[in-house]
């Protein structure tokens, strides 16, 4: 099975231990496999541990129980084979757009001329020509996320980990960014794990959707989807709407459970 899968998650548990208060079981017995160049969505209600699972794959959090392997190698630390894009962009605010994108290339030890050329290519790819010397504070949310995506793509990770990357954007920008992400993904095929709580977004973008349960997060179902992205009206098609409905029914129960578990404000 390892030969087929690029990422193997086996029986992973994770306990969240806040500095104060009781620890919480965030993930329980999660197993999942992701194929090379697959676009997989991790879908679930907020607080279900889907981001935690992504961080574990990224190597940002220690794996306490179970195993995560990327290309057969157990994950122990972050590495440039796994790039990450965060909901709130995580751009270095003291660096310009260009310097942000150059950073990963510098750390990889790429020669100067080559990294300048490469950075410019990715600035052009995400449509930020003319904003190379702007600081993140001068950019709109959509432009910040384009910069973050360009920064991650530039150092060419095999795997793209996306943590609700469009969650902080307005509806129009989000729709534009979704289309753009797909077009980029078609040109530079990478394995993508895309965390979201938006059912429609998951159905539109992903080839497979792993639906997670409310806390403690488990994989409740894995569903194949097929969307014809050449059709501009696809999100209004009968099949699309039915697929969204089918998955929404799975998520709804979990969302209700998650809501009930929230501490009353």
């Amino acid at each position: 099975m390892d030969g087929q899968s690029q990422i193997v998650i086996e029986r992973v548990n994770h306990t969240y231990r806040p500095p104060r208060g009781r620890s919480v079981l965030a993930l329980s017995d999660v197993s999942l496999e992701v194929r090379p160049r697959e676009f997989l969505a991790l879908l679930g209600p907020s607080g279900c541990g889907k981001s935690t699972l992504l961080y574990l794959v990224g190597g940002f959090l220690p794996i306490e129980a179970g195993r995560i392997a990327v290309k057969g190698k157990t994950v122990t630390a972050p590495g440039p084979d796994r790039g990450i894009v965060f909901q709130h962009f995580a751009l270095f605010p003291w660096k310009t757009v260009r310097a942000n994108i150059l950073y990963g290339l510098e750390r990889q030890g790429m020669p100067r001329a080559e990294r300048e050329r490469r950075a410019q290519a990715f600035i052009d790819l995400v449509g930020l020509s003319g904003f190379e010397d702007s600081y993140p504070s001068q950019l709109s949310g959509g432009m910040k996320q384009r910069t973050a995506i360009a920064r991650t793509l530039a150092f060419d990770p095999d795997i793209l980990l996306m943590d609700e990357p469009f969650g902080a954007l307005d509806a129009q920008t989000r729709a534009l960014m979704q289309t753009e992400l797909l077009s980029i993904w078609n040109r530079t095929p990478k394995t993508v794990i895309f965390v979201t709580h938006d059912v429609q977004e998951a159905v539109y973008l992903a080839q497979r959707i792993a639906v997670m349960s409310a806390r403690p997060g488990r994989i409740k179902a894995v569903i194949e989807t097929k969307v014809d992205h050449r059709d501009p009206g696809v999100t209004r098609s009968k099949e699309f709407v039915e697929k969204v409905d089918e998955i929404w029914n799975l998520v709804r129960e979990e969302a209700i459970k998650a809501e009930a578990k929230k501490p009353s404000a």
């Binding site: 961080y55 990224g58 190597g59 940002f60 630390a77 972050p78 590495g79 440039p80 796994r82 790039g83 990450i84 965060f86 709130h88 995580a90 270095f92 605010p93 003291w94 660096k95 950073y103 990963g104 750390r107 990889q108 600081y135 993140p136 504070s137 001068q138 920064r151 150092f155 990770p157």
Partner: protein
Amino acid sequence: MQAVMRAGLRYLPLVLLALAWEAVTWLNLVDTSALPPLSKVAVAWIDLIRDGELIDNGKASLYRGSVGLLLAVFGGGGLGLLMARWRLFDNFVNPLVELFYPLPKSALIPVTVLWLGFGDGSKILLIFLGCMIPVTIGAYNGARGSDHALVWSARSMGANRLRMMWDVILPSALPELLNGIRTALALAFILLVSSELIVSQQGFGYLIGYLGSTGSYEGMYAVVLTVAFLGFAADRIYQLFIQWLLAWRE
């Protein structure tokens, strides 16, 4: 032109204060031995510059102040960053910092003299110890507040822990660190002059004390005003430096 007007307006109260000072002395409203006229203070200032006293003592003071402050910036900055990122070190050092924080640093003047004598060393040590605290706290709070998503991003792009400290933690901590240094800058002047006033044969503080004890009150006021102006100028220049350094914040 408007900017000049605005700056002029801003410092108008100072000009009025200077005029009032001059007026009350000429109108004999105050004892001129306690408050000599500002014009005479100005004359005394020029004399002090001419015979080199103000320059020589000023050099000594600025040397002590800048060395002490510089040591505090690097020592305190490093200490704060390490405490923020290294739990064990934090547990060990934090109680010491907390204990030292409320201590009036001027109480250490005799101690530093006991250790290092009457010369530059004791002043530098005092300024270093006193100024280190606000710098440490600024660096510590700034680094503690750094966004873990930035740290993770840098790590995933191949930055090792040392690189990350330099590339992410330090710039994240910079706004608070720079504020801490501003407090330290003001503190440096306070500690400098008070230590020189008590035990020294050189420096602004010594000169103030000496002129006061020999009855040259015009000269004494001239030195006090010089120190006040230097402190003010240092703070203004430092704020411009911060603005330039943090231009990315908009």
